[in-house]
């Protein structure tokens, strides 16, 4: 794996910039949220970029109007505000209407999970996977690295429909080297014995770290990076995990509330595979500290994950 770090939104917007020079239907709206790459788009495609202001409801409504008239629209904002401030606009104008009309609208939310660690619980985004997955007619994409995020530029521009892109805000390592087929929903990063860690977004990096700790104790967990939560290819997933006895889901979101864990346990309900879930429980995180500290506090750092997996294997 190539360890070069990159920022998802920068790579994504850079590729979108490239597409905008040939595809005149691409239109970007931001709710007063930026990136140096967005500055370049604003400069060179001034007629197809608008900062709508701090107004997420209007962001979604204006995006809808542009999309009805045939533009491929990207609505860019901080993830919790994009999904939760404007949830009913998303439901009515995109989920409901998306069933009746052809639209290409891409909701690009930055700062998934605890990306905005010290900004506190208003900026943490721990509910979005569950609530966005609940809506029919909206694809939910949660890339783990900047390469996958970059590939989503081309994927979203060439595939109609409404999509939610959940981006990590901080720089992350590269995981993927080549082209990924989004419709496959997940990638088996490593085949293992007995147990498999299924993670999404930033937590795939934690899962990779946890696996290397476990390997030192001769425990070889499988690793699956799940990047499309809706629609989900359940059959392909069951086929990929059928040799394992236990699946551990790891997400930077609330567990037991409709997110990755719910998706996986529902998918596996017709198998004998045991599931375990790791994520946030017990409410919002008011503790102050950086993400590593908060993860340690909540048992989501690599050592804690490895220890819990180890225990689970002993108990099995």
């Amino acid at each position: 794996m190539n360890a070069k770090k990159g920022v998802m939104r920068d790579v994504f917007l850079e590729r979108l910039y490239g597409l905008m020079s040939t595809d005149e239907e691409i239109f970007i709206l931001s709710a007063d949220f930026g990136s140096p790459r967005l500055d370049a788009i604003k400069r060179d495609f001034a007629d197809r970029f608008i900062n709508v202001g701090i107004a997420e409801q209007n962001l979604i409504n204006v995006a809808t109007g542009l999309a009805i008239e045939g533009f491929k629209v990207y609505a860019y904002a901080i993830a919790p505000f994009l999904t939760m401030r404007a949830y009913e606009q998303i439901r009515v104008n995109l989920a409901l209407q998306g069933q009746l009309r052809k639209m290409n609208v891409n909701l690009v939310g930055v700062g998934a999970g605890l990306g905005y660690d010290v900004s506190g619980p208003t900026h943490h985004c721990l509910e979005d996977l569950g609530i966005m997955r609940m809506l029919p007619n909206i694809a939910v994409l949660s890339p783990s690295d900047w390469e996958l995020a970059g590939q989503l530029a081309d994927y979203t521009a060439t595939n109609d429909g409404v999509k939610y892109l959940r981006f990590e805000g901080k720089p992350v390592n590269r995981i993927y080297d080549g082209p990924v087929k989004m419709a496959e929903c997940f990638t088996e990063l490593k085949r293992g014995d007995d147990i498999c860690l299924v993670s999404t977004g930033f937590m795939t990096h934690r899962a990779i770290e946890a696996a290397s700790i476990l390997e030192k104790d001769n425990i070889r967990p499988g690793l699956i990076d799940l990047f499309m939560l809706s629609p989900f290819d359940t059959d392909r997933f069951i086929d990929a995990v059928k040799g394992y006895r236990t699946i551990v889901t790891i997400e930077e979101g609330f567990i037991g509330r409709g997110g990755l864990d719910t998706l996986v346990s529902a998918a596996l309900s017709r198998t004998a595979i045991r599931t375990m879930s790791m994520g946030f429980e017990g409410g919002y995180v008011f503790d102050i500290g950086d993400r590593d500290y908060l993860h340690r506090l909540k048992g989501l750092d690599a050592s804690s994950i490895a220890a819990k997996v180890s225990q689970a294997l002993q108990g099995a």
Partner: protein, 279 residues
């Protein structure tokens, strides 16, 4: 006037059309009691002027024609009075009016884009103006001269998202956008002025950067002329027409009732009202 409709004696035509639309709307309500009749009666002259006055460009046989003008009925509950018009103009068969809210019909109590001639999903308030602003922006970027009309109720102006859209439309000089406010003075539970008084409305709109005209929304000539003037304005501002109307117009029992939104008219009452209108 740039429109096909010439005014003058022609207003008699629009007036008689408005009477017909009101009667047909009442007939629908008589057998579809789930429909919101009071909200639908206040905007009869607005729909009549738009569709029969030549203000809107449309093709009944090709509802998605790109050359059409766009009308978003954001106050979805009040859209039942548009059903007879769309049927009369050939968007769908007149016989469908007898099936409103019935099993298998595409005409529900609140219309969605499954109804030929309806642009957007309606029923939840406060969305139409922002969506309309996005459409108006798109038309401008594409160099298309079509106009976007959005119909809201005055109660709907309680929704904050409407004001986000007001600021956006003015800032981006969307002069191809006309907001029609069916100011029928009532929300669901009371007269608007007792719930959240939004007056002075024209001054508010003007302060938000809009051209605003206040008119009698039941005078079809005034409605036509104000909408026509809005479409010809060269101010580079979006236009708002505040149509002062009466919720339940034509049904005396509803006109004075603060709860008219949730009141029905019985089939007998409908017959009496229609007999009075035809007398």
């Amino acid at each position: 006037m740039v429109h096909g409709f010439k005014g003058g004696e022609g207003f008699g035509f629009l007036k008689s059309k408005a009477v017909w639309v009101r009667i047909e709307t009442l007939k629908v309500h008589a057998h579809a009691q789930e429909t919101r009749i009071a909200s639908s009666l206040s905007c009869v002259e607005i729909f009549t002027a738009l569709y029969y006055g030549g203000l809107l460009k449309f093709r009944p046989q090709d509802p998605a024609w790109t050359g059409r003008d766009r009308l978003i009925v954001s106050k979805g509950h009040g859209a039942v009075s548009l059903y007879p018009i769309l049927a009369d103009l050939g968007f769908f068969d007149m016989e469908e009016l007898g099936r409103v809210c019935k099993k298998g019909s595409f005409l529900g109590g609140i219309p969605d884009p499954v109804v030929p001639g309806f642009e957007t999903v309606n029923g939840s308030l406060g969305h139409g103006l922002g969506v309309g602003a996005g459409m108006a922006l798109a038309l401008k970027r594409k160099g298309m001269a079509n106009r976007v009309y959005v119909l809201v109720g005055d109660g709907e102006l309680n929704e904050g998202s409407v004001w986000e859209a007001m600021m956006f439309a003015a800032h981006h000089r969307l002069d191809n956008l006309t907001l029609i406010i069916d100011a029928n003075r009532a929300c669901m539970l009371d007269f608007s002025s007792n719930v959240l008084d939004i007056e002075p409305l024209a001054a508010k709109l003007s302060a938000f950067g809009w051209e605003a005209a206040s008119i009698d929304g039941h005078d079809v000539k005034e409605v036509f002329e104000s909408l026509s003037a809005a479409s010809l304005s060269e101010s580079q501002r979006p236009s708002a027409v505040i149509a002062r109307t009466i919720k339940g117009k034509g049904a005396a029992r509803l006109e004075s009732d603060p709860l008219s939104h949730i009141r029905n008219l019985s089939p007998n009452e409908v017959s009496e009202i229609i007999a009075g209108m035809e007398a």
